[in-house]
C-alpha cells in the first residue's frame, strides 16, 4: 500500500454505515477531487474497527490518526487540514475520559491497548472487496503453505497442537473435529461455515465476514484439504446483506485468482464455496439444525450421534466450524501452533472476540487474549459503566449464558472458568448491566427470546421454557410465591438435564445464574412485593412528596393517563388506580418531588 502518501480508512461495518459512513466516503472522495489530492490520498472502505460506540470511525495511515464520530460534513476539514496541510483535526480525535486529552493514535487508546487482534487482524485494515489487499497481508499464504509443504495430517496436527477450540459456543477442539471428519470414508464431504450468528447484540461473525471474508474462505479451503472435501458451504443469515455481498465479491475474486476452484495453485486440489442463506432462526446455529435448514428441511436439531462428521449435509461427512474459528486458522498455520498456544490460558488458547454491549461506555467489538479478566474487559477496554452507575452484572454467552456478578469480575475469561461460574463462553456476546437493571426482568427477557426461538421439538424446551416464563411473569407482576421460586429452580434443572439440543440445555442458564447470584432480588419481588431496581411496573408506585411539591402542575399536564390532580400551588397527588407507571411525571418534575416506592 505504498502508492499513495496517505490512506483514509473509513469503517464500512454495518454500524458505521448506519451512521452515514458511505456518504462520508463519497464526500471524502469529492473533497480530494476538489483539492486535487486524488493522487496523494486514497479512501478505502474497510471492515469494522470495533470502536462502534464512537463510530463512524476514520483512520489515516501512515500516521495512524484515529478520528471518531465523523460526519460527512467533516470530510472537507479532514482533507483540507490533515491531508493537505498535515495538521490533525483536533476536535475529531478521541477524547480520553480520564485525562480529558485528545488522543490521536489508536495504539494509545485504552480501548485498544489490551486487545490482541488475531481473528480480527485484517478488520479495519483492508478493503474487504479487494483481494489484493488481503493477499498483501498474507491472505492465502497459509493455503499455499499447506498445499505445497504439508500433508493433511500435518496440518491437522498443527491445529490440534495450537489448542484452538470452537468459537461458536461449545469450545470443541477444532483439530479433533477435523481429525474425525478426515477419518470418515464416505465421499463427497463438506466443509460448512456456521455464520448463523443469532445471539441478540452479537456481531463478531458479521464483522469478520464484512471486514475480512478471505480469511474465512482460505480457512475453509485448508479444512477441505485436511478432511478431503471439495465443497464448502457458508450458512449465513439473510439479515446480513453486507456480509453476503462481501462474501459474494470475495468468492468471485478468489475464483478469478485461482484460489478457489479446480487445481488450486497447481496443487491438484479442488475446492469451491457456495452460500446458503438462513432465515435467522436462533436454533439454526446448532449444527444439526443448520444442516437440516441447508437441506431445505425444517431447521431443528436431531440427536447426536451421529455427528455431522459422520452423517452431515445430505447424509455425507461434514465439518462445521464457526466464522471466528475459521478466521484463526490461516494465521495459526503461518505463525505456528506454539505461537498460538502461547496466548491464553491452560485450557483455552488464543484470543476471543466479544461484542461489548449494554450500560458501558465503549460499546463495540473487541478481541482479547483468553485469560483476560471480566474487569479488564468492562472497566479498561469498555471504559467502565455509563453515567457513573454501579456495575451489577454481565451476561456472557448470549441468551444461553448466565449473569455474572461483582464477585466474578476477576475471573480470567476462558471456556472452563465461565462454565464453572455458571455461564458460558457462547459465541461472545457480553452485555453489561447496572443497578437500574432488574435481574428478574433480565431473566424474563432472555426467556422470552428462548420461547420464541425454541424449535419446539422436545417437550422440556417447548413447554418447560414457557412454564418458566409464566412463573417469571408472575413474579414480575408481584404475584409470585416462595414456592414459585423453588419450582422455577427445579424446572430449570430438569430442562437443563433433559432438553434435546444445546439451545434447550442452556436455556435455563439466565434463570439459574440469576437465582444463584441474585436470590435476594427474587425474594424482594416475592416477599416484599418490591422491585429494587424499579423496573417491574406492577411492583412500584409513583408518589409525590407533599413537602417538596410546589404545585406547578407540570406533572399533571404531562400525565398521559390523567392520573394526577391537585390545586395550583398546592401539593398534587397521583391516583394509583389510573397510573400507568410511564414515569413521565418524574421526568418532568423540576423539583425532584416524585419518587418510586
Amino acid at each position: 500500500m505504498a502508492e499513495y502518501k496517505n490512506y483514509i480508512l473509513v469503517c464500512g461495518g454495518t454500524g458505521c454505515r448506519a451512521s452515514r459512513s458511505s456518504e462520508l466516503v463519497e464526500e471524502l472522495n469529492k473533497q480530494l477531487k476538489i483539492y486535487q489530492l486524488e493522487n496523494d490520498a486514497k479512501v478505502l472502505t474497510t471492515g469494522c474497527f470495533g470502536f462502534c460506540e464512537k463510530g463512524p470511525n476514520v483512520k489515516i495511515i501512515p500516521d495512524n490518526t484515529f478520528y471518531t464520530r465523523v460526519k460527512p460534513e467533516d470530510a472537507e476539514e479532514i482533507v483540507k487540514e490533515h491531508i493537505l496541510k498535515g495538521r490533525k483535526v483536533q476536535r475529531l480525535l478521541y477524547l480520553d475520559p480520564d485525562t480529558n486529552k485528545h488522543i490521536s493514535d489508536d495504539k494509545h487508546m485504552e480501548f485498544y491497548k489490551k486487545q490482541v487482534r488475531i481473528a480480527l487482524r485484517n478488520c479495519g485494515f483492508i478493503d474487504p472487496e479487494n483481494i489484493k489487499e488481503s493477499i498483501e497481508r498474507d491472505g492465502y499464504a497459509a493455503l499455499g503453505k499447506v498445499l505445497t509443504e504439508l500433508t493433511p495430517e500435518q496440518t491437522i496436527d498443527i491445529i490440534l497442537k495450537s489448542g484452538l477450540r470452537g468459537r461458536g459456543g461449545a469450545g470443541f477442539p477444532t483439530g479433533k473435529k477435523w481429525a474425525i471428519a478426515s477419518k470418515s470414508v464416505a465421499k463427497p464431504k463438506y466443509v460448512i461455515c456456521n455464520a448463523d450468528e443469532g445471539d441478540p447484540g452479537a456481531f463478531m461473525d458479521r464483522s469478520i465476514l464484512e471486514g475480512d471474508p478471505h480469511s474465512v474462505l482460505e480457512a475453509m479451503a485448508i479444512c477441505g484439504y485436511c478432511i478431503g472435501a471439495e465443497h464448502g458451504l457458508i450458512y449465513v443469515r439473510a439479515e446480513y446483506p453486507l456480509a453476503i455481498h462481501r462474501l459474494q465479491v470475495a468468492i468471485k475474486q478468489a475464483r478469478e485468482y485461482g484460489l478457489l476452484g479446480n487445481d488450486i495453485m497447481g496443487s491438484g486440489f479442488n475446492f469451491d464455496v457456495e452460500l446458503r442463506y438462513g432465515a435467522g432462526a436462533f436454533v439454526c446455529g446448532e449444527e444439526t439444525a443448520l444442516i437440516h435448514s441447508m437441506e431445505g428441511k425444517r431447521g431443528e436439531p436431531t440427536l447426536k450421534p451421529p455427528f455431522p462428521a459422520v452423517h452431515g449435509y445430505l447424509g455425507q461427512p461434514s465439518n462445521v466450524n464457526n466464522v471466528e474459528t475459521f478466521a484463526n486458522v490461516p494465521i495459526i498455520i503461518l505463525k505456528g501452533a506454539d505461537w498460538f498456544s502461547s496466548i491464553g490460558t491452560a485450557t483455552s488458547k488464543g484470543t476471543k472476540v466479544f461484542a461489548l454491549a449494554g450500560k458501558i461506555n465503549n460499546v463495540g467489538l473487541i478481541e482479547v487474549p483468553m485469560g483476560t479478566t471480566l474487569r479488564e474487559v468492562i472497566f479498561d477496554i469498555g471504559g467502565g459503566m455509563k453515567n457513573g452507575k454501579k456495575f451489577k452484572a454481565v451476561q456472557t454467552g448470549g441468551p444461553s449464558g448466565g449473569c455474572l456478578t461483582e464477585k466474578h469480575l476477576d475471573v480470567p475469561i476462558d471456556y472452563d472458568n465461565l462454565k464453572a461460574a455458571g455461564s458460558i463462553m457462547g459465541s461472545g456476546g457480553m452485555i453489561v448491566m447496572d443497578e437500574d437493571n432488574c435481574m428478574v426482568a433480565v431473566a424474563k427477557f432472555y426467556l422470552e427470546f428462548i420461547v420464541g426461538e425454541s424449535c419446539g421439538k422436545c417437550s422440556p424446551c417447548r413447554i418447560g421454557n414457557m412454564r418458566m416464563l409464566e412463573i417469571l411473569t408472575k413474579i414480575c407482576d408481584g404475584k409470585g410465591t416462595m414456592d414459585d421460586l423453588y419450582e422455577l429452580r427445579d424446572l430449570a434443572h430438569v430442562i437443563k438435564d433433559t432438553a434435546l439440543c444445546g439451545l434447550g440445555q442452556t436455556s435455563p442458564n439466565p434463570v439459574l445464574s440469576t437465582l444463584d447470584n441474585f436470590w435476594d432480588e427474587y425474594v424482594a419481588h416475592v416477599r416484599d412485593h418490591k422491585c429494587p431496581a424499579g423496573v417491574c411496573k406492577n411492583l412500584m408506585e409513583y408518589h409525590i412528596d407533599p413537602a417538596i411539591c410546589v404545585g406547578c402542575g407540570a406533572c399533571q399536564r404531562n400525565c398521559p393517563a390523567d392520573a394526577i390532580s391537585g390545586e395550583k400551588r398546592a401539593p398534587h397527588t397521583i391516583d394509583q388506580s389510573k397510573c400507568i407507571k410511564c414515569g413521565t411525571c418524574r421526568e418532568k418534575c423540576k423539583f425532584g418531588a416524585i419518587s418510586i416506592q
Binding site: A281, V283, R298, E300, T302, L303, P305, I450, V451, G452, E453, S454, C455, G456, K457, C458, S459, P460, C461, R462, I463, G464, N465, M466, R467, E470, I471, K474, D484, E487, D490, L491, V494, K496, D497, T498, A499, L500, Q505
Partner: protein
C-alpha cells in the same frame, strides 16, 4: 463382534453393539416408559426423534439421555430409576400434560390414549405450574376420513414419520416455533386441499386424540332405526382377523362367525362379505391382466403394462396425486367395496323389490381412506352413493358394545346369500401380496387353461417393502411385483418408469403389511407382533377354505351368469369398472 457388557439399575446385561439402552433394558425386564418412540421392525417403521424425553436415563454424564436413541457402550452404568431420573421424567410428563386439554372423558381416544395411560401409570395427578397456564390452540379440522384436533398434539412426530418417511406423501410436517410448534399441513390448509391420500397411518399411530377417524356410527344407527330403509352390511377380509382384539381376544383370533352374529344383532337386515366382491375383483382384474397381456402379445402398442392393482384407495389417491402419467397402468376394476355397492344396489335391490335409495349399504373396513373413496362422485348414481356409510373395525367394535352384545359369547353364524360366499383368494386380500397371489391363482388358469399345480405362491408373501417374483405360467415366465407402504410404491413406480423391469402386474397396498395394518384396525400401539398375528390368521383362514381360487366361487359364478354377464363386458364393465383423474398439484 464382541458383546457389550453394561449394567442397568445394577443388573448386568450383554448386548450386541448398536443396541439401544431401551432394548437392553427390555432384555432384563426393565421397562423404561416411552411416548414418542415407536418401532414396527417387521415392516421397517421407526420413529425415535428423541423428542418427548420421557425415556431419559442417567448414564453418568452431565445430563440425561434418551434410552430410545442412545446406544449402549462398554461398561456403561445406566440408572433408569434414580431420584434425578424419576424427578425429570415426572416433570416432563407434567409439562406435556400442562399443554394438553384435560377433556379425557369426552375424547375420542379416551381408553386408547397412550398419554393418559402413561400419566396414570406414573401417578401424575397434579401440575406444579402457574395456575391456568397457557395451552396451545389450533383450528380443528375435519375431512371425509380424518379429524384433526392439534390442541392434543404432543409433537411425538409419529404421524410425520408415517406420512413423510413410510408413506412418502409429505402432507404434514412440523410448523411454527417453540410453544406454538405443531404438526400441520402446509399453510395449515385443510387435509382435502393438501396432498393427503387419507391412508390414515397418522391416525393409526397417534398416541393421543389429536388424530382420529371420522365417526360414522351415528349414521349407521339412524339408518337401522329408519323403517323405510333396508340396511345391508359388508365386511372386508381383514376385519375378521383383528376385531377380536377389541374384545380382549388374542391378536390373530379369527372371529368371522361371531362378527356375522354381532352384525345381525345390531340390526342389519342382511350380512354380506366383501370377500365375495374381492373374488369379483379378481375375476375382473385377472381378466383385465390376461386381456392386456394378450393384446401386447399381438403387438398392440397402446396397452400399458404392468397392470397396477386398484383396490387400495390411498394408493389410488397417491397415484392420481403423484403419478398421473401412470393412471393408464391402474386396473380399471373398482375396489371390492365399490364393486359390492352397485351390484347390491341394482341386482340385490331388484331381488328384494325395493328402490335403490331405500337400500343402505354399510361397509366395515380396516381403512379410513375407504371413507374418502365412498364419497367420490363416480361411485354414485343420481346423487346416491353406491356405498352409503363406511365404518372402521374400531367403530364396529364400539357399535357392538353400544348394542349390549357380549361378543365373546356369541355363536358362529354364516353370511347371507348370495353375496356371502367367498374363496381363500378373497380372504388373502387383507395381507400385502394377497391380491397378487389371488390374481395369479386365477390368471394362471385363464392363460394356460389349466389349474396351477400349487395354490400358495410364497414368492409374493412376506413383509419386504418391494418383492419381485417370476411365476411360471406353464413355460411362460410372468414377472410380478408387490409393494406395501407408499414409499415402496414410489420405489416400484420409479423402477417401472426406468424401463429396466419387464413386469406384467404390480400390487400396491398403502398400509404396513397391507389391510391388516390398516388405519381403521384396532390400535397396535407399536407392537408389530399384533400385525404378524393378523397376517398369519389371514393365511389360516385361506387354508381353511374349501375353495381357494376366486373362479371357484359358486355364488359369484351364478351372479355372473344371471346378472353381470362376462368379465370386462356388458353390465360387468358398466358396474365394476371406473376411471381415474389427474390430481397432480405442484
Amino acid at each position: 463382534m464382541d458383546l457389550i457388557k453394561l449394567t442397568i439399575d445394577n443388573v448386568p446385561v450383554e448386548v450386541e453393539p448398536g443396541t439401544t439402552i431401551l432394548k437392553a433394558a427390555e432384555k432384563v425386564g426393565i421397562k423404561i416408559p416411552t411416548l414418542c418412540y415407536m418401532e414396527l421392525p417387521d415392516v421397517g417403521v421407526i420413529n425415535n426423534p428423541g423428542a418427548c424425553r420421557m425415556c431419559v436415563v442417567d448414564i453418568g454424564g452431565p445430563r440425561l439421555f434418551p434410552a430410545c436413541a442412545t446406544t449402549c457402550t462398554p461398561n456403561m452404568v445406566v440408572k433408569t430409576n434414580s431420584p434425578r431420573v424419576l424427578n425429570a421424567r415426572r416433570t416432563v410428563m407434567q409439562l406435556i400434560l400442562s399443554d394438553h386439554p384435560a377433556d379425557c372423558l369426552l375424547c375420542a381416544k379416551n381408553d386408547d390414549c397412550e398419554l393418559r395411560k402413561l400419566a396414570a401409570e406414573m401417578g401424575v395427578h397434579e401440575l406444579p405450574f402457574v395456575e391456568n397456564c397457557k395451552q396451545s390452540h389450533y383450528k380443528k379440522s375435519t375431512s371425509p376420513s380424518i379429524n384433526r384436533d392439534q390442541d392434543k398434539c404432543i409433537m411425538c412426530r409419529r404421524c410425520e414419520t408415517m406420512c413423510n418417511e413410510v408413506e412418502s406423501v409429505g402432507a404434514i410436517g412440523a410448523i411454527n416455533r417453540g410453544f406454538n410448534a405443531v404438526v400441520a399441513t402446509a399453510f395449515e390448509r385443510p387435509l382435502v386441499d393438501s396432498n393427503c391420500v387419507f391412508c390414515g397411518q397418522c391416525v393409526a399411530v397417534c398416541p393421543t386424540g389429536a388424530l382420529t377417524e371420522v365417526n360414522n356410527n351415528p349414521e349407521v344407527l339412524e339408518a337401522i332405526a329408519d323403517p323405510t330403509k333396508t340396511v345391508i352390511v359388508e365386511t372386508a377380509p381383514s376385519i375378521r382377523a383383528a376385531l377380536g382384539e377389541e374384545f380382549g381376544l388374542e391378536p390373530g383370533t379369527l372371529v368371522t362367525g361371531k362378527m356375522v352374529a354381532a352384525l345381525r344383532r345390531i340390526g342389519f337386515d342382511y350380512v354380506f362379505d366383501t370377500d365375495f366382491a374381492a373374488d369379483m375383483t379378481i375375476m375382473e382384474e385377472g381378466s383385465e391382466l390376461v386381456d392386456r397381456l394378450t393384446r401386447v402379445a399381438k403387438g398392440d402398442k397402446s396397452v400399458k403394462l404392468p397392470l397396477f392393482t386398484s383396490c387400495c384407495p390411498a394408493w389410488v389417491n397417491f397415484c392420481e396425486n403423484e403419478y398421473p402419467e401412470m393412471l393408464d397402468n391402474l386396473s380399471t376394476a373398482k375396489s371390492p367395496m365399490e364393486m359390492f355397492g352397485p351390484v347390491a344396489k341394482s341386482m340385490y335391490a331388484d331381488k328384494l323389490g325395493i328402490k335403490r335409495e331405500n337400500l343402505v349399504v354399510v361397509s366395515v373396513m380396516p381403512c379410513v381412506a375407504k371413507k374418502f373413496e365412498r364419497q367420490r362422485p363416480e361411485f354414485s348414481k343420481d346423487g346416491d352413493s353406491d356405498v352409503n356409510i363406511v365404518i372402521t373395525t374400531r367403530e364396529l367394535a364400539r357399535l357392538i358394545k353400544i348394542n349390549n352384545i357380549d361378543f365373546k359369547s356369541l355363536p358362529d353364524e354364516d353370511f347371507d346369500a348370495p353375496m356371502g360366499e367367498s374363496t381363500g383368494g378373497a380372504v388373502i386380500f387383507g395381507n400385502t401380496g394377497g391380491v397378487m397371489e389371488a390374481a395369479v391363482r386365477v390368471a394362471y388358469e385363464l392363460v394356460t387353461g389349466k389349474k396351477p399345480e400349487k395354490v400358495e405362491f410364497d414368492e409374493v408373501r412376506g413383509f419386504e417393502g418391494v418383492r419381485m417374483a417370476t411365476i411360471d405360467f406353464a413355460g411362460t415366465p410372468v414377472n410380478v411385483a408387490v409393494a406395501h407402504e407408499l414409499r415402496n410404491a414410489r420405489k416400484l413406480v420409479e423402477m417401472v418408469k426406468s424401463g429396466k423391469y419387464n413386469l406384467a402386474a404390480c400390487e400396491v397396498m398403502a398400509c404396513p403389511g397391507g389391510c391388516i395394518g390398516g388405519a381403521g384396525q384396532p390400535f397396535h400401539h407399536g407392537d408389530s407382533n399384533i400385525l404378524i398375528a393378523r397376517h398369519n390368521a389371514i393365511y389360516r383362514e385361506d387354508e381353511n377354505k374349501k375353495c381357494r381360487r376366486s373362479n371357484e366361487n359358486k355364488q359369484l359364478a351364478e351372479v355372473y351368469k344371471e346378472f353381470l354377464g362376462k368379465p370386462l363386458a356388458g353390465r360387468a364393465h358398466e358396474l365394476l369398472h371406473t376411471r381415474y383423474f389427474d390430481r397432480h398439484r405442484i
